[in-house]
Amino acid sequence: MLGTQLTALTDGHPAGLTDALDLVAGVDAALAHGLARVGEADAAALASLAAALGTTPLADLVAEAVDKICAGSVTPEHLAALAGARSALLGAAHDALLGQLDAALGRGRVPWSPAPPAAPSPVLAGARAWLHEVAVTGWRGVDHELVAAAGTPVEAALAAPESRRLAVLLDGLAAELRACVPVAAMPQVPARRWADLWARGVLLAQDAGAVDPVTEVDRVDGRLLPLGVDVHEHDTAMQIQVHAILEPAAGGPPRLVRTAVGAAKVDTIVGPALWRLLQAYPTLLAALAQRRGVTVADLPVRGADLRWQDDRAQLDGPVDPFAAARVLLPGAQAAATAPLDRHPAAIAEPVLLEGYAVGDHDGDLVLELDGRPLAVAVDRLPSCGPLTPELVAASSACLGLLRWDDGRWRLQPLAVRATVKRKAVDVHTGDWACGITDAKVAKAEAKAGDAVAVLRERAGRLLRR
């Protein structure tokens, strides 16, 4: 990424973005208060939302929903319309921001090709009912009972593979609410975040909302060059998402792709132990830990998402992710986001930064290209890897993901080339995928014991009795 590109990215917001986000904030506030009795300010905010969507296909649905909600009668259809309206605004914000990013970087993007919806799942009704109750109550009214009521729909959704996304989302949201009860006592609620999760949950819980991610329209062969790995986790789920360049065997331009594997977990499994939950994917983990390429054969792909199958992957020669990014990233073909997934929080675009100065802006670590600062998302450095804020501060090259939140772009580092004790080292978030390579950390981990093994022993003795 060049200084001129960073300037193009950070010079001004896309037109209408601020207005769209203000409308979203209005919905967020209404959800914080609850829809049981909509106050004047919230009613005005919802009316503005309906007006803003007046020229879209959602116009009539949303106008009616807002009318009825403000009059005190909330049906599931009205809530679906409200969630849809909010998601449409954020989807548009996503498109505008990603368009700005593509224009700045000169990144080409293949449009999305529609897929047929999956069959409705019987577990969705329970989730819809809970989300309904939550919206009517409002975040500020959430109590132990309402949080506990999430248990049954989560369990049902988790048992059905096609509703895994919904299960993981609801469980993450419920855990946050549980920790915050009584929410009324909080100085402020994370209104944007919880409304994001609520709205996505409502859409995923619609019978027509489930687009089966397995619907494969495409299969690819080729060589995969991993750039870096992004790690996600909450109390009961984790996922690693590997961003990579795919050189298609059939020829054509390299493709910017990603592949995700994940596992259920519990809150006491944290840090490097996370990797042990992914032992079903040895080839992928070895590629990360050893920084090697992978030859893949006949892998399903939807948009940019390769669906990983370890038995269709073979380890290839060493790959320097920095070199791969330098040579192949500028010409790599990206792919559009699935329609339902469009939200600014979903933007995670790989970039390589070199030749920057490391700075400090009011305590925030920033990388400066031609004097233009880009804040580092140090809060997105995972505890399962060796990459620390200190290493980023000592770095001269950084591979990372561009992200956007609350009005600004930030860089989430996935790897750095840094100077430590006068020696150049490369440090990647995935370096410990096959075990901790730092003796001191390994010793501390060994002392803490194997959480997964202890819990499996307990499960073996106590479950199914």
């Binding site: 920790a179 609620v189 975040r193 307990r458």
Partner: protein
């Protein structure tokens, strides 16, 4: 609840609302949680590998109880919390930090409190039998997560839940 006072908190999608649990040894107390208005969990018996104790301490009222998972009362309860409850409180402090545990129980921990026993000592606690079944079934539910098969379905919603805490 790290940056709850930050003005931008309400307008950000990716804020960490709940700090991740801190790593701790699980052998003695495999399960601790702050839920349903209680600090509750499961403590492995020191003498019988097949036995576990279910211990709980209610927020606000500070009523405590400890029994086996078959509802046999713990012999260590003699007008004061037993060693299982102390172990539970110790591990809760390790996992969540003293502040969060004290806030949840609604107790003013004050200075000089670092261990579970010291925290229990600050309470005007009383014994009140409760059913072990609720807590024990939550523990079994907890363990059942380890039996859920891993998956290659991308979970876009996890972008709201970044892993954090490098170098901790």
């Amino acid at each position: 609840m790290a940056d709850v006072d930050d003005a931008g908190w309400a307008r950000r999608s990716s804020v960490r609302v709940v700090p991740a649990a801190r790593p701790r040894k699980l052998a003695k107390v495999p399960f601790v949680e702050l839920a349903d208005g209680r600090l509750q969990g499961v403590v492995s018996s020191g003498s019988d590998i097949e036995r576990v104790y279910v211990s709980s301490l209610t927020s606000g009222t500070h009523a405590y109880h400890c029994s086996t998972n078959n509802n046999r009362p713990c012999g260590g309860l003699r007008g004061t919390p037993c060693k299982h409850l102390e172990a539970l409180a110790d591990e809760a402090i390790l996992q969540y930090g003293l502040d969060r545990v004290a806030r949840y129980l609604r107790v003013d921990a004050g200075d000089g409190v670092t261990t579970g026993a010291e925290l229990l000592g600050r309470l005007d606690a009383r014994h009140e039998p409760t059913q072990a079944a609720v807590v024990f079934s939550r523990f079994l539910r907890h363990l059942s997560y380890l039996e859920v098969p891993s998956s290659t379905t991308p979970l876009p919603e996890l972008h709201w839940f970044p892993s954090t805490g490098a170098g901790r």
